[in-house]
């Protein structure tokens, strides 16, 4: 070894020691440390204290894992990532040191659906590192789990089995498995993989209902969006929705008309079903009936700029044109009131002339935070009532 190499190694050791020296320990209780971690916010307030708490809590024994995982439940998304880091550090050290993990407690945590889905998934991944059998043991029972990741795994297993049986000529059994898989499927790739063979088998599927798409809208327009300026112009529907009112649009008189879509993925294609307007604003409204106040998500996909109001309150807006369209492209959390909830969607088309910039369409579905459809309690209520409502 040359003197230079020795010096470099010495320097490396010293520098690593300096960089990894633990903070002064105060022997705080895990709950206290977790509370400190949970105090981090979006402005980075609390970050230094949280970093110290992470370092101290990460040095704890594996017995603390359940406490840390349980804390995900009321942690904000940033704090949950701090807790995730703590969990992984403890587990890495335990596995490297051949220490026992609290397997039974972790498994009980995983199957208890009242815990945070991300924490349950993390616990599952931890256990899978030391016990591969839990995949076969737990995943089949997770077809209707609140965690989309668990559901996806369970659905994937059923699809794989159904495909194999179908190839082997056991179509009836395959069909049964496909239908069972559909109960848990909310990702479009899996739904497509299920729907195609089922339809070949003669099954009739209502995919818009499966996803919770809003398929009937009253639409009025076009209003002017020359140079994209209409995005921020409050045209009459933003002030009052009266489905009988005669309005004046970009091309003259405009009135609300009912449009429906039977597209599997709830796409209402303005360009094809109405007209390929350019430099245009269209307003679309429908009503969602809720039996009781509740939180849901509106999930929207569109290649066009948009604004969304629920009961007259703007809940989100995005001024992006022709950057792709995808199921669940945008997720907007909304609190509904009991009874009728008026939905107003503003969809804007720009004036680009390229072939790839001609789509003028949208899809909206309503679901819970896990992606499972939430339907209007009145099946006919997606038809807007012909009465004046305040958006």
């Amino acid at each position: 070894m040359t003197g230079n190499n020795l010096a470099l190694r010495l320097a490396a050791s010293l520098s690593i020691l300096l960089l990894t020296a633990p903070p002064s320990l105060t022997a705080a209780e895990p709950d206290e440390l977790i509370s400190t971690i949970k105090s981090v916010d979006k402005k980075a307030r609390g970050n230094p204290a949280a970093a110290r708490a992470v370092a101290e809590l990460s040095a704890a024994e594996p017995a603390v894992l359940l406490t840390v995982l349980t804390a995900f439940g009321d942690a904000n998304p940033l704090a949950a990532n701090y807790l995730r880091s703590v969990t992984e550090t403890i587990v890495d050290r335990a596995i490297a040191g051949k220490k026992k993990l609290p397997r039974k407690l972790l498994e009980a945590f995983i199957v208890d659906r009242k815990h945070d889905p991300q924490a349950r998934r993390l616990a599952f991944e931890i256990l899978a590192r030391v016990d591969a059998s839990i995949v076969d043991r737990l995943i089949p029972g997770m077809l209707t789990d609140p965690s989309p990741l668990f559901r996806r795994d369970a659905v994937a297993r059923l699809i794989e089995l159904a495909e194999r049986l179908n190839k082997e000529g056991q179509a009836d059994l395959a069909g049964t498995l496909y239908k069972r898989a559909l109960r848990g499927a909310t990702d479009d790739d899996q739904v497509k993989a299920i729907a195609k063979p089922l339809r070949k088998m003669g099954e009739k599927l209502d995919l818009p209902r499966h996803f919770g798409f809003l398929t009937q809208w009253h639409i009025v327009g076009p209003f002017d969006n020359t140079l994209n300026k209409g995005f921020n112009v409050a045209y009459p529907p933003e002030k009052k929705i009266d489905l009988k009112e005669k309005l004046t649009g970009k091309l003259g008189p405009a009135s609300w008309k009912l449009y429906k879509t039977s597209n599997d993925f709830g796409i209402l294609d303005i360009a094809k079903q109405i007209s390929p307007y350019k430099g245009a604003v269209m307003y679309c409204t429908t009503v969602f009936e809720a039996q009781a106040p509740r939180s849901i998500q509106f999930r929207l996909g569109t290649p066009n700029a948009w604004k969304l109001w629920v009961n007259g309150r703007q809940v989100f807006a995005n001024e992006e044109y022709h950057r792709g369209m995808k199921l669940d492209q945008y997720s907007v959390p909304v609190t509904l009131r009991a009874g009728s909830n008026t939905i107003l969607l503003k969809i804007c088309q720009n004036e680009q002339e390229e072939d790839w910039a001609q789509r003028y369409q949208f899809q909206v579905r309503t679901c819970n935070v896990s992606g499972i459809a939430v339907h209007s309690s009145d099946n006919s209520a997606s038809l807007p009532r012909l009465k004046e409502t305040q958006p």
């Binding site: 010096a7 470099l8 010495l10 320097a11 490396a12 010293l14 520098s15 690593i16 300096l18 960089l19 990894t20 981090v40 979006k42 402005k43 980075a44 970050n47 230094p48 949280a50 970093a51 992470v54 370092a55 990460s58 998304p77 940033l78 949950a80 990532n81 701090y82 995730r84 880091s85 703590v86 992984e88 550090t89 890495d92 991300q118 993390l122 989309p148 990741l149 996806r152 990702d187 790739d189 989100f316 807006a317 995005n318 001024e319 992006e320 044109y321 950057r323 792709g324 369209m325 995808k326 492209q329 945008y330």
Partner: protein, 398 residues
């Protein structure tokens, strides 16, 4: 005190061969003093090949004896990964995962892990298309986490974001620009608090900020390039120093060499900043023949290399005079890197062209297959090339 000085000096020497961010320590794409191989294949000059846990267009970085890499995983690309590997053996030292707090949608060719991470030699700053910014120490301990979408919920692009962070002094800087909302932000490396932020023009942009070193390191500038030009800000305060107001490319990034800023604007424009660092720079030369596609321009040994489509053009960095041009084959997303007189161009199919950087004519020295889709900009350190696909990380070494 003497011991501390000794340690500081030794650490400086130890880390001289680091590749700490997108296109290297000074965003130059040049690895001085490194001698990586010029030929390789599936069984030749591959020191190791490691499977990865997720997708990514982000490049690897190298700090001391470790390689750091980000990936994203899951149906929605919302699982964020940071992995650390041993430079010599490829053995994974640690992996950390996080849950994205912003929008993760990307074009199918992209990934949430498209920005290359950065390091100040003590910390790793992993940034993602979802605007999650994670700071870890070199051993994987979380130091702080920012979800910038909380502040700018509309700063996203449904095709995905790509701009890589840059560390200047004790400030880490991100540039996030899209049609719907745009900003740049400087954060304190120690705790992630915001030192400054500024609204940017609302245009799609995938280029990365770079450093324009100042005589006084505390006065180094960060250069933000976008559709309306290039803005120089004091890195620590965000105070605007000067602005170049000609439209500039939105994907390839600028490069600084010998105090000249080469901007992919009007083809290529060479700017000479004023001595005081505050007055508007003068244009040394510009030439619309030297436009760039996705790969960023590279300046090496007095020559500037640009790439548009499969065509590489070599010109004199002093005056823009064309020296040679060379047609390669295929599509290129990766920016080229340079070492030991050679340029390395990784095509999207994984075929790498090694090109002689100093001859009177463009000459392909070798063509080397990896048999995988390569979209990242590789790193050079330890006389080796580190490059990743969506599935693997390679160390190409003699």
């Amino acid at each position: 005190m003497l011991a501390l000085v000794l340690v500081a000096l030794l650490v400086t020497e130890l880390t001289a061969a680091d590749w700490r961010q997108f296109r290297g320590n000074l965003s130059s794409s040049v690895a001085a003093g490194e001698k990586p191989p010029v030929t390789w294949g599936e069984t030749e000059n591959i020191a190791w090949k490691i499977p990865l846990a997720g997708r990514g267009l982000s490049g690897p970085i190298v700090v001391t004896d470790r390689v750091y890499l980000t990936s994203s995983d899951g149906f929605n690309q919302d699982r964020l990964l940071v992995e650390c590997f041993d430079v010599k053996t490829g053995v994974r030292r640690w992996r950390r995962s996080f849950q994205a707090t912003g929008r993760t949608q990307c074009h199918s060719k992209m990934a949430n892990a498209t920005p290359t991470p950065a390091s100040d030699g003590k910390r790793i700053f992993a940034f993602y298309s979802s605007n999650d910014l994670v700071c870890l120490d070199l051993d994987g301990n979380l130091l702080w986490y920012r979800g910038l979408t909380h502040d700018y919920p509309n700063a996203s692009n449904s095709l995905g974001m790509a701009s890589s962070p840059v560390v200047i002094g004790d400030t880490v800087i991100v540039q996030v620009e899209s049609q719907s909302d745009s900003f740049a932000m400087g954060l304190d490396v120690r705790d992630g608090t915001t030192r400054w932020h500024r609204k940017q023009h609302r245009f799609d942009n995938w280029s990365s900020p770079i450093e324009l070193p100042g005589k006084d390191p505390a006065k180094s500038l960060v250069l933000l390039q976008n559709m309306v030009g290039l803005t120089a800000l004091e890195a620590r305060t965000g105070t605007e120093a000067w602005h170049y107001d000609e439209p500039s490319s939105r994907t390839p990034s600028s490069v600084v060499a010998d105090g000249i800023v080469f901007i992919p604007s009007n083809g290529l424009t060479a700017l000479r900043p004023a001595a005081d660092g505050k007055q508007a720079p003068e244009i040394a030369w510009k030439d619309n023949r030297f436009g760039s596609g996705t790969p960023s321009p590279l300046v090496y040994r007095g020559r500037v290399f640009t790439m548009s489509g499969p065509i590489v053009k070599c010109s004199d960095a002093a005056n823009g005079k064309l020296i040679w041009q060379l047609r390669l084959k295929g599509a290129f997303t990766s920016s080229p890197v340079a070492a030991n007189g050679h340029l390395y161009y990784f095509s999207e199919t994984g075929l790498t062209y090694v090109v002689d950087a100093s001859g009177p004519k463009g000459k392909i020295v070798s063509e080397n297959p990896l048999g995988a889709t390569i979209l990242c900009t590789p790193a050079i350190a330890d006389n080796s090339i580190f490059v990743r696909s969506h599935g693997h990380l390679w160390k190409i070494s003699r």
